[in-house]
Amino acid sequence: MPDKPDRNAIEVVNVRKIFGSGEGQVAALDTVSVSIRENEFFTLLGPSGCGKTTLLRLIAGFDFPTAGEILLYGQDIAPLPPFKRPVNTVFQSYALFPHMTVADNIGFGLEMLGKPKAEIKARVAEMLKLVKMEALAGRRTGQISGGQQQRVALARALAPQPKVLLLDEPLSALDFKLRKDMQIELKRLQHETGITFIFVTHDQEEALTMSDRIAVMSAGKILQVGSPWDIYDKPAERFVADFIGETNFLTAAVSNIGNGKARATLKSGATIEATVAEGFQPKDNATVVVRPEHAKLTKDKGELSGTVDNIVYFGTDTHIYVRLDSGEVFTVRQQNTRSAGCGFERGDKVGIVVGNDAAQVVRD
């Protein structure tokens, strides 16, 4: 995947954020460093409490880091109050001003910046058009639907042309269908405005479909930064592999490490070729990750063997749960066809073929 021109919009350098004091103190962010490039759609992904929202709040200026720097195009903004940062936020609750019209909400930032009336008017009109809300410009924000409020919140944050737009789980309050539409809408807006987006979510699917790059966070640390493809297919840590998509974990002895590759000897005795996560420390019981769609079920011999435990039909595909001879459970995902069944039944003795490019050795 070709990278966009490398110029960092945001650099987070060794940022720590401690809440509380003494015994009760908690490190919400534990020495986090990450660079976010200009014009990219960057996602902070992780379970609740992982520190993603804290990091966003530090970039917005609603809170200040205990230590470290936050650089916006090279200038440290960490000590600045929010109203002095050319960064705008789309809030989870939208936080639209209920006593103002849609148009006044969108113009608020420009108004506060002291822009001339004519300029504000033109910019508001442009923003209303961008989010397709021209018809509702004069409405109060209480008189429009959740999806429309979402659009107004976006327009309001984009109107002052921020250097970076922060989005704090903005889609979580929308229903499924609307959320899908807004995902596409957000990508379009990002493309049309060319503004750097930093998007916070706990929804891994949302992160994979929308982002240029993703940072996976857990317990106040960034575990891995990479493209959706990197994160999904080359997870660096067990947590990342587990959090994103469905995964099979196998235990293996790893040998011949070199060039990012290695040989993994599984418990079954079979040896497969695997890619190795950066920073992996050789050890006896290493974790090997195989995605369910990268393995094939066969009635002949495979690298692994076991008994079919359960078969679950999902429409587009079927999940077949196999109890391996070693006792572990392994899931195989098989694409469905219209005419035939999956070809296996519960209790069948089966082999599992793990392809040559299917396994990744991860850090624990």
């Binding site: 200026g61 609603f62 929010p82 109203f83 705008n88 936080a95 006593h99 608020f108 506060m112 944050a157």
Partner: protein
Amino acid sequence: MAKRPFDIQAQPGFGFMALLTFFALYLPIAALVTYSFNTADSLSRWDGVSLRWFISAWHNSAVQDASVRSLVLAVSAAALSTIAATMAALATTRTRPYPGLTFKYAFINQPLMVPEIVTGVALLIVFSRIKVWTGYSGLGYLIAAHTAFCIPFAYLPIRARLDSMDLTLERAAADLYATPWKAFRFVTLPLLRPAIIAGFMLAFVISLDDVVITEFVKSGGQDTLPTYMLGQLRRETSPEINAIATVFLALSVVLVTVFYFVNRRKP
């Protein structure tokens, strides 16, 4: 709507109790209002309907004097206490909870808990000292005293509104380049306005109605309408009192009605 079996309105005796309560509450007031239109010189005799006592009260210079003083006092005290209460409400809600915050709530609401008579005596002692030292004996003492005991009444509705107001709104304003003052001016204050008006009116009514503290604090010749009425009763009971009380009642009803509509209006 059909009555359900366990509806309290279906219980035997409900209607009787309701009627009894209603009469206990409103009969004396009805009598007062009725007798304010009495022509007779005495409180106990009914001679026919007239506006005699209203006109008499209107032309009574002592009543005029006390009315003006009451209004000046109530407006000043309500304005000052509302400003103080707004600041107190902002300070106690726009902050992370910290040890001692509960104590501050109690401190702000102190006038609700200390008996008025105690405050009255205390102020009498302190103010008489200050009067001696400074030689000043104007309306300032009454304004200060009224402001103090009106603060909790103004504070309560304002704080209730702030508690229910999304903090993110002020954060959003700051995010959109509003300095703290501008965020207050353009976001917090407009959203708070109904509560501030409600707080002001509550404070106004409380100040207008006060007898106990005023009685202790006022200097000679500084009667407010309630203390004037009390003084009149001590001498001879003129039906003029009825007329003044009726006007007072009408004013309160108007204020409470306005208060209700202001509070009901959605921001």
